[in-house]
Amino acid sequence: MKKTVFLGALTVAGLSAAVASAATLDDVKARGSLNCGVSTGLVGFAAPDANGEWAGFDVAVCRAVAAAVLGDPSAVEFVPTTGQTRFTALASGEVDMLARNTTWTFSRDNDLKFEFVGVNYYDGQGFMVPKALGVMSAKDLDGATVCIQTGTTTELNLADFFRTNNISYEPVPIETNAEAQQQYLAGACDVYTTDASGLAATRATFEAPGDHVVLPEIISKEPLGPLVRHGDHEWGDIVRWTLNAMITAEELGVNSSNLSELAAAPTNNPEINRMLGTEGELGAMLGLDADWAVSALAVGGNYGEVFETNIGENTPIGLARGLNAQWTDGGLIYSPPFR
């Protein structure tokens, strides 16, 4: 044991004795911190600020889970992962969960053996064109040059879309979003295509955002959500219901200003009581404290508040709720009941 500790300390990270337990919850509790895989930097979703503090829409999920499990939203180790390294990091146990704008697909769920616990953002691939081009619909784009990131699903979606509509295009392959912005602004391509949230974030950085329009067509389904490893259902449930608690809180009108009041004593809404632990034993069923949801919601508020602070219409990114509105408002955001 001492030997292991020594070697571990030597490898700097602190090699805790290799406990091959499947219970992620126990590991997280023993470690005292949650290892959460995030993007290396995506506007609005995950980015470190000037003090190195991570913030963003995906980061908020990590913090809520950490608060639910450990009672401390800052007990998170953010592990930046790239598109190539994210799945290995999760599969090998380097991170406990991944909240990294990852699209829920069949093969990722089944072939790569992951468990998507829900959807926190419904995205889809869109097109951005200069207003001066006078294009109103993606179907008018016959013969256009299109800036497209290589090696991504967006490339395949684009080919599918143009083939089904029987129109031609000329791809301009680019490597990163940064490069795409420069190429598009320099006029190397007529159209830039990527996820609609990315287009909005990119357009927000332009000198004259009003000169560019995002076309109405959305040509793919990109449900983004947090994911965990197959096989540890207790842990998956914790992450799933933390996300659901944020969603349900918005639906039931629980927000950061009335949270402490509602959590203090049972209200006349039994579902709020069950969720906030003033009634029933839901926390114990997850293996957590009764006030787990209160801690999770205290971090950044409910789903709607997190959306508004990070990517909503009052931020420079300015995304409308759209598909990501509550089901009661005509969106797709829907949580099973707390019962």
Partner: protein, 435 residues
């Protein structure tokens, strides 16, 4: 005849006249170098125009840059208010806002003195090695520096580097004793085996005991918090320092007559050299995770340092092999005829000459290695380029490119240029001594 007084013969010497203006100073230099022929004159004028054009466009952008803003939008507002929106000017504010992250990554800001001190200590440790004129006693600084740097950078208990370093002390004394009492071969074997036994069986308990009795340490910093130029320098310098001895050993092994050693060296060099560095980095990041027992967390930065070291060692080995091959055979035979054994002849005669020949190649490899450290961005480490894109991922600075890339470029240029200058100086000095 002797009295003839010829009026047209000058009797006294003329005073020295100054050379014509066109033959001295700047005028001559300009005539000779810039306008020596009509073609050259035309080329000079074209070049001057190009320089004027480039500077005329770049200088206002650079010098007129805005420093005080807190976001790109604010930069644009200031620019519109001062020079108008049709002028592009730099927004250097991103540097004044985020310079600390570009330099130190996410290292805790109240501990910035530690990496700075570590770098100074490292340079101090380098002096006795690089400048042989300094006192030999200073070598003790060089021996301590790596452990002190490790401790300063990562922090934690002071006893960890101390108990590790003791292994080398064990090896040193074992070598001395066994060489004197038994034989040189026994000395080498003892110097390898005893420290390994010490690290495996004793060091852990010693560390635990020391840490329990005298808890002495500084704040521990995770390597995940390393970033920016600090990360590049840590990876680059560790790999440089470790790969040179390893590379020399590999070069000697490749020249060896012992079949197994030679085959091992050849296979190692060819395999490492035959695969791109980025593949090795992905191996370090992805594959090793599967081979290690689950739950193990072998530090990623350390994995990267090991991979980069091995990669650069293979290149150094080939450079040094070139130096060894360039030595005339007479040098090897001369060493043998003096009755020196293998290690003595290598240490005293062969390697000093071979390494001198190899200096440009070695420094070239090191410069390449230092720049290659930016490849770690692909495995999710925050090298300067990674930090730049993380800075761009915030809503304040999304959409800013040139300013960050120029800063990173300048920093790398300074580091690589100094290395190049040092190698030139070293070459000149060694040439004087030997010819």
């Amino acid at each position: 005849m002797s009295d003839t007084n010829v009026s047209y013969v000058r009797k006294e010497m003329l005073a020295e006249a100054a050379p014509p203006v066109s033959e001295i100073g700047p005028v001559r230099w300009v005539r000779e170098n810039l306008f020596s022929s009509p073609l050259n004159a035309i080329l000079t004028i074209i070049s001057l125009y190009v320089i004027y054009w480039v500077v005329g466009h770049v200088a206002p952008w650079t010098i007129g840059g805005i420093w005080g803003a807190s976001s790109l939008t604010e930069c644009r507002e200031i620019r519109d208010a001062t020079v108008g929106s049709d002028h592009g000017i730099a927004c250097w504010s991103v540097l004044s806002h985020r310079w600390h992250q570009l330099l130190f990554g996410y290292y805790p800001s109240h501990l910035y003195w530690r990496p700075v001190l570590a770098l100074l200590l490292f340079l101090a440790g380098l002096v006795p090695v690089l400048y042989p004129d300094t006192s030999r006693k200073l070598l003790i600084v060089s021996a301590i520096a790596p452990f002190a740097c490790f401790w300063l950078l990562w922090g934690g208990s002071v006893w960890l580097p101390v108990s590790t370093a003791l292994g080398f002390v064990v090896g040193y004394f074992a070598f001395g004793l066994a060489t004197r009492l038994i034989s040189p071969l026994a000395g080498i074997l003892a110097a390898i085996i005893l420290p390994l036994l010490y690290w495996y069986f004793i060091a852990g308990d010693l560390y635990a005991a020391l840490a329990d009795t005298v808890p002495l340490g500084i704040e521990f910093v995770q390597s995940r918090d390393f970033g920016g130029f600090m990360l590049s320098v840590v990876i680059g310098l560790s790999a440089i320092v470790l790969s040179l001895p390893l590379g020399i050993l590999l070069a000697l092994a490749r020249q060896s007559d012992l079949f197994i050693i030679k085959t091992f060296a050849v296979v190692f060099i060819e395999v490492i050299r035959g695969v791109p560095l980025i593949v090795w980095l992905f191996t370090a990041q992805l594959l090793l995770n599967y081979f290690l027992p689950p739950g193990t967390n072998f530090d990623l930065t350390l994995r990267v340092i090991i991979m980069v070291t091995l990669f650069s060692a293979a290149y150094i080995a080939e450079v040094v092999r070139g130096g060894l091959a360039a030595l005339p055979k007479g040098q090897y035979e001369g060493a043998d005829s003096l009755g020196l054994n293998y290690w003595q002849s290598m240490r005293l005669i062969i390697l000093p000459q071979a390494l001198k020949i190899s200096i440009p190649g070695i420094v070239n490899t090191f410069i390449g290695l230092f720049k290659d450290t930016t490849l770690v961005v692909f495995i999710g480490l925050f090298d300067p380029l990674g930090i730049a894109s993380a800075v761009r991922a915030t809503t304040e600075w999304n959409g800013i490119y040139w300013e960050l890339f120029i800063f990173i470029g300048v920093m790398f240029f300074i580091a690589c240029f100094s290395m190049g200058r040092y190698s030139l100086q070293l070459e000149k000095k060694l040439q004087r001594e030997h010819r």
